[in-house]
Amino acid sequence: MSESPVDPEEVRHVADLARVDLADEEVAEFTDQFADILDYFEALDEVPEVDSEPDLVNVMRADEVHDGLTQEEALSNAPETEDGFFKGPTVS
């Protein structure tokens, strides 16, 4: 896509993957802007492969039970709940 101009269908496809509805005007605006931005990202092609050996170590700790949120606290920001559960939209 970045070798050729970004087209509106690709913007709609990515928006669909990301679960974000877009208005037609947003699709048009993003199509232009993404072309510029992805063109700028093209320069990453020049980056050599870098051997990196990150100094990572496993951080282990004992698996102990601590207090967490109560069910009431965990549900306190949900727009809809039922019988102590989050209520989501229909899975179809």
Binding site: A18, V20, L44, G88
Partner: protein, 440 residues
Amino acid sequence: MSSDQQRPDDTHSAPADDAHNAFITESTVEGDREGPLADKTVAIKDNISTEGVRTTCGSAMLTDYVPPYNATVVDRVLDAGATLNGKTNMDEFGMGGTTETSAFGPVANPVDTDHVPGGSSGGSAAAVAAGDADLALGTDTGGSVRNPAAFCGVVGIKPTYGLVSRYGIVAYANSLEQVGPLATTVEDAALLLDVIAGPDDRDATTNDGGEGSAYATAADGDVDGLTVGVITDLIEGADDDVVGVFQESLDELESQGAEITEVSLDSLEHAVQAYYVIAMSEASSNLARFDGVRYGPEGDREGNWNDAFAAVREKGFGPEVKRRILLGTYALSAGYHDKYYKKAQDARAWVKQDFDAAFAEVDVLASPTMPVTPPALGESLDDPLQLYLMDANTVPVNLANLPAISVPAGDVDGLPVGLQLIGPKFGEETIIRAASAVEA
């Protein structure tokens, strides 16, 4: 413990005298009244969780979100005796450099109210600059503490990755972000860093690299014999007037016994691209949680699961957040992952190696914090790429996990210019010492 004054149906309940729109929610939470911050008020960026006080991230998605727990940094600030006096305005989810992407309106720069305060922690910087809070906490993913500190003429510190707990921070790009202090003096910012630094078993990326440090004590102005490397790559893109002020601050350091040299880091040419690919990719994953089920606005429950999510996310997110989620999704999608994300990780490793090599030669590195002075309000948002380029001097530090400080260096026609000093991993004391010599 909270005397929260927000009204749930009010989308904007800032203090009546909040002339700069620096606050999203006014709320007073008293700390222990004893400790190193006993007589201080601290304003908290609104992506840092505060128990019982709404935390919006500057987004319509979280207008009514009230965290049931405190971020670790909030507990530490309260334990140190401070009084929290409000949640500060910010670019939506930290995505921006001007605080104009906030769903709660832009913040005015207290130094010149026709100009932006920088961002994304623009409310925190403005609150401190205007005297509405003694100290403030911000978060810095690609410059979001240093940028507004520079633009508002205050001090801001981005700590080494792992020095400060991110527990309770609403995640944008976890591998890059740290909580950092803002204050009017280097010593005050360092004092707040002393309070928030240190390992937290609720954030496995923290460690004890800062053990035994005394940051406020380090603000002694002693730079005799210190070697300062000017990063020439970060001078080339800066405005001439800004470079002039930067040069004066170097002269000041030199007159106090520091040795100034020049260094060049070839990898920095690719830092902005690498930063945005990584940050957007992480954002696309982190922000997947905002689906209107556990928090967020009530969606239209017609249609299936995916339709309902997409509708809530259309409604709750502003344009810059959508832009970054979509570009991140794209960069991680099949066929493009190697081209963008993997290359960006290579660039990140390269930047780290370049910094390591530079610190074998010098004690601290220097650049202007921002290549420009604060833009006028309303002039930046039309061209996102131009805004991303404004981050050229701040993002390398996040890619390399290093500490950096922005300290006021002077002004251009009344608009503040910041000096950025970068240290090696856990070298906070050194950059604090050097910065304290500049503020005089």
